[in-house]
Symmetry: C2
Subunit: 454 residues, 2 copies
């Protein structure tokens, strides 16, 4: 074989034993989530109706590391450690001196990084005696991950799937059903929140979250599970970045730029936070780049304010970049990135200038996806195609500068359930959906009253 390694594989013994809790490393105190009624910091009690205490303690943890339960690591072993690839073939196609690495999470049974959090969430709920989990899903990645995790822990699972994705990706629904879950098209008739938003037929993550939270809050044997945004979810995903650090060390390189797509932020946080900790603690010069869709440009066009995590205003107020909690993004194919806000932890780092953000349109992301598929072989989901687009632009910049920069991006899932989007791109009918500035401005006028953020 040639002496150019294309893959860096860790043994099972190198699956991380702890999650990285970046809360412990923030330069100042984080702005807390607020109870919307009292405007006081939300405490564990605000969360007990929908979350088990095990996850609430993780959500508010201040320890720098949180131990991963043995039962969770046992299931992680089915697809972790995930491989890190060196994209030699893409580098050659781009004629760039940059070294491009990608961490591939598509090998999990559900096809993305989402099971990294679905499994510990199902585990903690099972331990707490919960019998049913209810959730929302955009592209279907999170819903299928939770369906998988619930089948492994013998829990019932119910999923509110955003209408646009339900129509575009019928087989994601089938996948959840094969694992035993029940799937509703959102907005649905099952909930008040769904009925109140019936006119937004393509749905949104915000509406689907409202539906799921409503069901969970109204039933004692049922809890809610969220696939992104919250601290504990971002923390669960840090197995990705920890493994990537060990694998980059095997390759004998350090990333100059860490790149990921951002919907709610868990994929980006998972890859980036371990490297961010090193930057904060050791002054490493790593740059961080978040890629989002131009049709839902939370980090690049949103305002940094307290806002609800869902459309109906049932969640605590979260400090984040937002387009307004009732902004309904257009039905772009990267359904996992159709969220009006982002993880407060990630938003704080953007606000502090530690993470850069960039937004791309559909056609340029699919152009990058096809280029990647035809050089590296893997067919990416539309969400990480945003990260691929950003990586290609960084590699081209390295070529212009004549510098051998080291780029690392997260390939958080495969595109096997997104082929209708590829069809549209290849047949030239994929639209560069416009972001509606006027709708965002109207939504921002409906932001809840809350203290200003620093």
């Amino acid at each position: 074989m040639s002496d150019e390694p294309v893959k860096y594989t860790l043994p099972d013994s190198e699956i991380p034993t702890h999650w990285v809790n970046l809360m412990a490393d923030l330069p100042g105190p984080a702005s807390p989530p607020l109870n919307p009624a009292t405007q006081e910091p939300a405490g564990p009690d605000d969360l007990t109706p929908i979350f088990p205490m095990g996850l609430i303690m993780q959500e508010v943890a201040t320890d720098p590391e949180v131990e991963i339960p043995e039962e969770v690591r046992d299931i992680y072993k089915r697809w972790r450690p995930s491989p890190l690839f060196r994209a030699h073939r893409l580098e050659r196609a781009l004629d760039t001196p940059a070294h491009i690495y990608y961490k591939y999470e598509g090998g999990s049974p559900a096809g993305s990084h989402k099971p990294n959090s679905a499994v510990p969430q199902a585990f903690e709920n099972k331990k707490a005696g919960v019998e049913r989990l209810v959730t929302e899903t955009g592209a279907g990645q999170w819903g299928s991950a939770l369906a998988l995790a619930c089948s492994l822990f013998d829990l019932e699972c119910e999923v509110f799937m955003v209408g646009a994705s339900y129509d575009q990706k019928p087989y994601r629904r089938s996948m959840m059903e094969a694992w035993g879950a029940k799937v509703h098209r959102s907005p649905s008739n099952e909930t008040q929140a769904g009925r109140a938003n019936a006119e937004h037929d393509t749905g949104s993550l915000g509406i689907a979250i409202s539906e799921a939270v409503e069901v969970a809050a109204g039933d004692g044997r049922t809890n809610y599970a969220l696939g992104s945004v919250l601290n504990h979810v971002c923390m669960h995903q840090t197995v990705i970045g920890q493994e990537a650090m060990a694998q980059m060390a095997m390759a004998g390189e350090e990333p100059d730029v860490v790149i990921g797509c951002v919907g709610g932020g868990s994929n980006f946080a998972g890859l980036a936070f371990p490297f961010m900790r090193r930057r904060l603690r050791e002054g490493a010069s790593t740059r961080f780049l978040a890629a989002e869709p131009a049709a839902c440009p939370t980090l690049t066009r949103g305002v940094y304010r307290y806002d609800f995590g869902d459309t109906s205003g049932m969640t605590p107020l979260l400090p984040m970049y937002t387009l307004g909690h009732d902004f309904v993004p257009p039905p772009l194919h990267a359904g996992g990135l159709r969220y009006h806000g982002d993880s407060p932890l990630l938003c704080g780092l953007v606000k502090a200038g530690l993470i850069d953000a960039v937004a791309y349109r559909q056609n340029e992301t699919f152009e990058a996806a096809v280029r990647f598929a035809r050089t590296e072989g893997q067919l990416p989901a539309p969400e990480p195609a945003h990260a691929i687009r950003a990586t290609i632009e960084e590699a081209e910049a390295a070529r212009e500068a004549g510098e051998p920069r080291v780029l690392l991006f997260g390939l958080c899932g495969h595109g096997h359930f997104d082929m209708s989007a590829y069809d549209a791109y290849l047949s030239g009918t994929l639209e560069d959906i416009e972001f509606s500035e006027s709708e965002m401005e109207a939504a921002l006028e409906r932001l809840p009253e809350a203290p200003a953020l620093a």
Copy 2:
């Protein structure tokens, strides 16, 4: 973590350096393929119009091992060595003393074992200066593997996809197109063979092979590529069984039964032949079990005779179990198993009593697939679901016998493109398609004249 390993992983350095050529181990001389005009053994010259000399030499090789080119191993490294799993959770669900292992090939970019042969085939054709490869595909697994391999070696790729699968799995077509291939629904208007079979609208592998061979034979810059049946294809797949032997050794066990599904035979051969060599050379007591669909029961209901590999009679005559070269199997969902014949090498071993065969109906295979998905997490393709069904029955027999038998089966691909079949099963509308004995008998009456087989 618990001390029960669930996964056995080999380092990249353990990717096999050679393929196993079982031809060298057969007890007597194999019946040769025949030129249909002369009834004389077909030689390399019969194959040069459609295959490059590199593959022809592999096809007729008598060496026990054939070296894998470095360029091929470099690409294998992208998904090989593939993992071997211990199915603890399925064992517990079945309450069986059997130990169940499975070798998972679904992690390749195309989602099955097929790239193991597509890559060396594309490589040898590229080396020979060929510019375009044409092939057939049933379920789409082989077609997407060849589309992938052609994109990696910068070859044009054209695929005749069996009508039934083209309709059931539109996203397999999209996947091939994303890698740059051109896809025709077979029977097509592009070829004489397609037009002559227009009345068989759902198509068959036999018809699609005729179409592809016709195109390749008529164009000097184009070759044909076959995804199964032939010796060199079965040989390419033996990387699977060689790795599995090393991984079973890591687990400290030997399989009592090796189980695989059979369409044309390459998946089964890939897993089984290295173990078969050990049985033949060292007298190991391993049992081999081939699982096929009851709607296309080549090994269990066919006759052992010389027959064409394709419907139109363009290929050499092959010694094999056959249902008749113009038998059109019903459109079952396991499209990869809809073939009237099987690998001559494998058929010879069945004839010699070294491999047992069993046939299953659609609903019982999907019942096994869902049971597997809900315990082990992986969603299998309909083809390996036949092997899962057989494994479950073997595990139940072990429970009845009170014996801790060791079972190893091949999970040759995931079911991400087969969700409409899962939908049909879960909604209770999946039919147990009947095998037409009268159609088979009529097809057998049209077998070509040829010498009898021993």
